[in-house]
């Protein structure tokens, strides 16, 4: 397998503060890789080291197998789409895209051909003579990508470029970016704090926290098999309880939450250190089934947790609607529920039975301290 970018134990220290701490990863050619993390986690520093704007404290960065640490930024074949795009306002669109080619000393006719070609590929064939200020937000985005792609880079870095766009445009640009990546077949490294951007677009996602990679994996793996409590909490929505192990260490463990819920969960992220261990329990709302309460006690099914409760409120959001259920011991539990608008919809005050599988209740050992 060929790797476009390899980072080996990359560290970056600013004085006493460690911004990037021993990060290693490899990105296969032509894939879409995202680095997801909260602000201040070191993802921008990592990207700036790859682009060459920051030096590494230790470790090695290789592009197509060759170390680039000794190369200045303008000699690395890594191009970057900046957070605010950094298009040159004193040049028109054509000049913006031609800038990089001029730096390489490409001939006039060749430049014309290449610029026109890349403008067609981002489906903006007629904007060459426009000024930057005449473009819409989405068009600027595409020109910023075109300006990099015309140079045929080994790796394209994108630093939260969708942050400045409004919601609708952001949604459509997500799909467009993914399509562009397919079309150019170049390795994209996408930095974001927005988990939905990372999940929708990426082949692989690295979740970063406090300078370290918590987990690298496909979006599905991160979502369904998070390796740490941080990943479980950061990627996707979840009911999050802290509690204590009553029985067990591996596989199915009996736990009691601080709020008094007692349930059976699955030990995740390594085995737990036996009963009495502090744990954090994550259950995603879409895995909790809601049914109207029938009879006295909820029907027991093997491999399932059960909880009886009363609908506290409805959180309507189209297909992603939820109900907030108050359990008998006064805990709020979020569960996905399709509200159809018909007469049989749940109403606040209705008694319901909740059930969710033991495998879907991930228990992580709580961080000490």
């Amino acid at each position: 397998m060929e790797y476009d970018l390899t980072c080996e134990s990359v560290c970056k220290k600013f004085g006493e503060f460690t911004a990037v701490d021993d990060v290693s990863f490899q990105i296969p050619s032509g894939s879409f890789f995202s680095i997801l993390g909260p602000s201040g986690c070191g993802k921008t520093t990592l990207m700036r080291m790859i682009a060459g704007f920051e030096s590494t404290t230790s470790g090695d960065i290789k592009i197509k197998g060759n170390s680039v640490l000794s190369l200045p930024p303008n000699k690395r074949n890594v191009k970057m789409v900046f957070q605010h795009l950094a298009l040159f306002p004193m040049m028109n669109v054509f000049e913006n895209i031609a800038y990089g080619l001029r730096c390489q000393g490409v001939g006039k006719e060749e430049i014309k051909r290449k610029v026109q070609d890349v403008l067609e590929r981002v489906s903006l064939p007629d904007v060459g003579s426009k000024e930057i200020s005449q473009l819409s937000g989405g068009q600027k985005q595409r020109i910023a990508i075109a300006r990099c792609m015309v140079l045929d880079p080994d790796v394209l870095l994108l630093d939260e470029p969708l942050g400045a766009l409004d919601l609708k445009l952001r949604e459509s640009m997500k799909i467009e970016l993914k399509l562009l990546q397919h079309q150019f077949n170049t390795t994209f490294i996408y930095i974001t704090h927005d988990q939905s951007e990372a999940l929708v677009m990426s082949d692989n996602v690295a979740v970063m926290n406090q300078g370290r990679f918590e987990q690298i994996g496909t979006p599905q793996a991160l979502y369904h098999k998070p390796a740490s409590a941080f990943v479980a909490g950061f990627v996707g929505d979840a009911n999050r309880w802290s509690g204590r192990v009553v029985e067990g260490a591996d596989g199915a463990v009996k736990v009691q939450t601080d709020g008094g819920l007692s349930l059976v969960g699955t030990a995740a992220g390594g085995s737990l250190s036996g009963s009495g261990t502090d744990v954090e329990i994550f259950v995603r709302p879409e895995f909790i089934t809601v049914a109207r309460a029938k009879g006295d006690a909820p029907a027991q099914v093997n491999g399932q947790n059960h909880q009886r409760g009363v609908v506290d409120s409805l959180l309507f959001n189209g297909a992603n609607s939820r109900v907030l259920v108050r359990s008998t011991n006064n805990q709020l539990i979020e569960a996905d529920f399709l509200l159809t608008g018909g007469t049989d919809d749940l109403k606040p005050g209705d008694a319901v039975d909740l059930s969710w599988s033991i495998e879907r209740s991930a228990c992580f050992q709580a961080a000490r301290g």
Partner: protein
């Protein structure tokens, strides 16, 4: 009622400004212009015509002085730009937030002292018995006192020093507005340091460069004290000519004509500069 108050307040606000423009700018200029067209025939007998202007053209020493003033002011402008640009870039982009204010204050400091005192400072340093001459004698580079005053180099140096701040301020304010990412993008896309400077930083700073250059050129061409005191009799600065006509020779008519010629000349140079750089007054000096 409301409308009347608004109108009244507008009139009251504008009144001092209108008075200033009228009394101190328009009336004197009209007066000087009329004066410049007047020719003296004999005592209290005048005729009107372009005689004063024709006299200027017929006397090479006059228009030579004007051209010399213009070209030396241009040189001052260029030097101020060459020295001021790196300083402004350092203040706007390299210096940390805290030291920025202090550096700016350092540039401002010379303006707290009157121009006369500052020029005397130069005189103390550069005269035959001055500090520089004395120091060079002490360390043995020269064996007798040397006069550093009264030559063109000293005049230009003194002028550059006087006008430097007016170059730095507009440059800092334009460079301050430049996103660092733009420079980084310039490098990232393969540009060398020189390319980034020529294709990105300078074009971006162009409004500031032109604004600073206009102000500096006008100040240098119109300055009086510095060229007279540092250049002495050899300075041949055009403002000195005007002063001579008015005060020494008591020839107000020709002095007025010279004043108008200086105004026209500097205006033409500024206009040419704007045309050459593709800027306009609205994008440079009057930039908000």
């Amino acid at each position: 009622m409301d409308k009347d108050i608004k109108r009244l307040s507008l009139i009251l606000l504008m009144a001092p400004f209108a008075l200033w423009i009228l009394l101190l700018i328009i009336i004197p200029h009209v007066g000087i212009f009329l004066l410049s067209l007047r020719e003296k025939i004999s005592y209290k007998e005048f005729t009107y015509g372009l005689g004063n202007y024709i006299e200027f053209l017929n006397e090479p020493i006059y228009w030579n002085t004007l051209l010399r003033t213009g070209s030396m002011s241009l040189l001052v402008t260029i030097l101020a730009l060459l020295i001021g640009f790196p300083v402004a870039y350092y203040i706007a982009k390299v210096a940390r937030k805290k030291s920025k204010g202090a550096l700016f204050l350092l540039c401002l400091l010379p303006l707290w002292v009157s121009e006369l005192i500052r020029t005397f400072g130069w005189i103390l340093l550069l005269r035959e018995t001055g500090v520089v001459s004395g120091f060079l004698q002490t360390i043995g580079i020269i064996d007798q006192p040397v006069e550093f005053l009264y030559n063109d180099v000293t005049v230009i140096m003194g002028l550059v020093y006087t006008v430097m701040l007016f170059m730095i301020v507009p440059l800092v304010s334009t460079l301050d507005g430049m996103d660092d990412a733009m420079v980084e993008a310039g490098y990232n896309l393969g540009g060398s340091g020189f390319t980034v400077l020529r294709r990105i930083i300078i074009p971006y700073a162009m409004p500031g460069i032109v604004a600073g250059s206009i102000v500096v050129f006008m100040l240098a061409a119109g300055s009086y004290l510095t060229p007279i005191l540092l250049g002495g009799k050899n300075s041949s600065w055009f403002t000195e000519q005007i002063y001579d006509q008015f005060i020494t020779r008591y020839n107000w008519e020709s002095g007025a004509a010279f004043g108008f010629l200086l105004l026209a000349f500097t205006s033409i140079v500024v206009w040419l500069g704007l045309r050459l750089t593709g800027q306009s007054l609205a994008t440079t000096v009057a930039k908000d």
